[in-house]
Symmetry: C2
Subunit: 265 residues, 2 copies
Amino acid sequence: MLAKNEAKFINSLKLKKNRESEGLFIAEGVKIVNDLLHSGIKVRQIYSSRNFQLSIFNYHVDVIRIKENELARISSLNSPNEVLAICEIPTYKLVPAQLTDCLSLALDTIQDPGNLGTMIRIADWFGIENIVCSEDTVEVYNSKVIQATMGSISRVKVHYTNLPGFFESVRSGAPDVPVYGAVLDGKSLYESNLAGKGFILIGNESRGISPELLPFVTDKICIPSYGVQTPDQKTGISTAESLNAAIATSIICSEFRRRSRNHVQ
Amino acid sequence: MLAKNEAKFINSLKLKKNRESEGLFIAEGVKIVNDLLHSGIKVRQIYSSRNFQLSIFNYHVDVIRIKENELARISSLNSPNEVLAICEIPTYKLVPAQLTDCLSLALDTIQDPGNLGTMIRIADWFGIENIVCSEDTVEVYNSKVIQATMGSISRVKVHYTNLPGFFESVRSGAPDVPVYGAVLDGKSLYESNLAGKGFILIGNESRGISPELLPFVTDKICIPSYGVQTPDQKTGISTAESLNAAIATSIICSEFRRRSRNHVQ
């Protein structure tokens, strides 16, 4: 049974300002909620339209049984998926000096929630534990982002900060940490020297990396296009002009990890 | 000025059965329409809310000037983008023997329009000219697919066929053409022998490659996860369980092309 004021409260969390003031976010679906239950993120309450089973490790979480039409009233999904959880927004401390010896993602003004969610899933797959986002990157607790992570939100730490200030701190403490910037006129990813540590910097979907961040890039890299090399005589267009930001991220992360597996820089 | 029956006709093309019976599809946005105008696809009519300029190479296409609210009435986009084109569905002949000496994609029951559109964009980037889809793969002339291709639909040929029958034909003519199947328990992509020809077979988003297609796979490949290798004691979950199908496609295509650039199998 779903009380009216509960439904109202849950629906209020669909707005960023309310998520921020309450320190709460919503996750939906059996897989994502299960992943969250087994992560460092605290699940405060679960609403379920079926008999959702908790394992003995999280028996302290309240599960409220509701009807399917009640779930539909609080869900953000077109097809609600059995379970909805209210979770506490974790607070991760961002310490630049702790990220100088591993590989991290840095995201500059990523706007599309699906892209951010997919990038978190990619980071999880490739063992990248931290993503440092510019303050104007889409908010990670947006339900579209959470759903697109497919549970990876429970394993990857996403930080928001002033990116130029962050890179300034990193550089002052560890001047040799590479920042790989994905740009269209960089050196081929396949021929670049890639270390197993540093930052992969991905720019905005349409404008790329901001001018104020370019000075921090130590290595400009690009994914070579393999399309027909002779431009069309009429238009100059011969191939796709760019790859989607999440697609580019996946290709770059894969190449970094391939090298470190094979012990090749 | 948009006539009432024109608006009705254009809106009717939002349904697959009408696109098929009329042999027409709709594309929207300045970039996509421009790419189509310079491709082999015939653009029959253009509706534009601004002064859309045709180059001398396509002066024979009719451009009808309409108001922004009229464009909104026929557009499938949340934010209509100046121009909408009615295009003829091209008919490509699928000849198995012509695909034995190049690299192609084969898609088994891909359901998400965004995934198919992104895969077409990836194919375009990596110079893959043909995509062979199972008959139950989402229809490529669905507006969500067209928009997600970002114009690459004008350069990549997408075929629909009975995939087992297709692979049967390929194999009978050229028994040594490899079919690389992306599966979770395959050999590491990075350590597999990859030829510059054959088929990269991508399965359905949740079920993977269908049982009836597995016998045609000559090389099972997977993208190694780099997540924490020791599973969580409580759950066994240690990392993302899978990558999105379009993400996996991009990583695989990139690795194929990296090898052929470096002349390494």
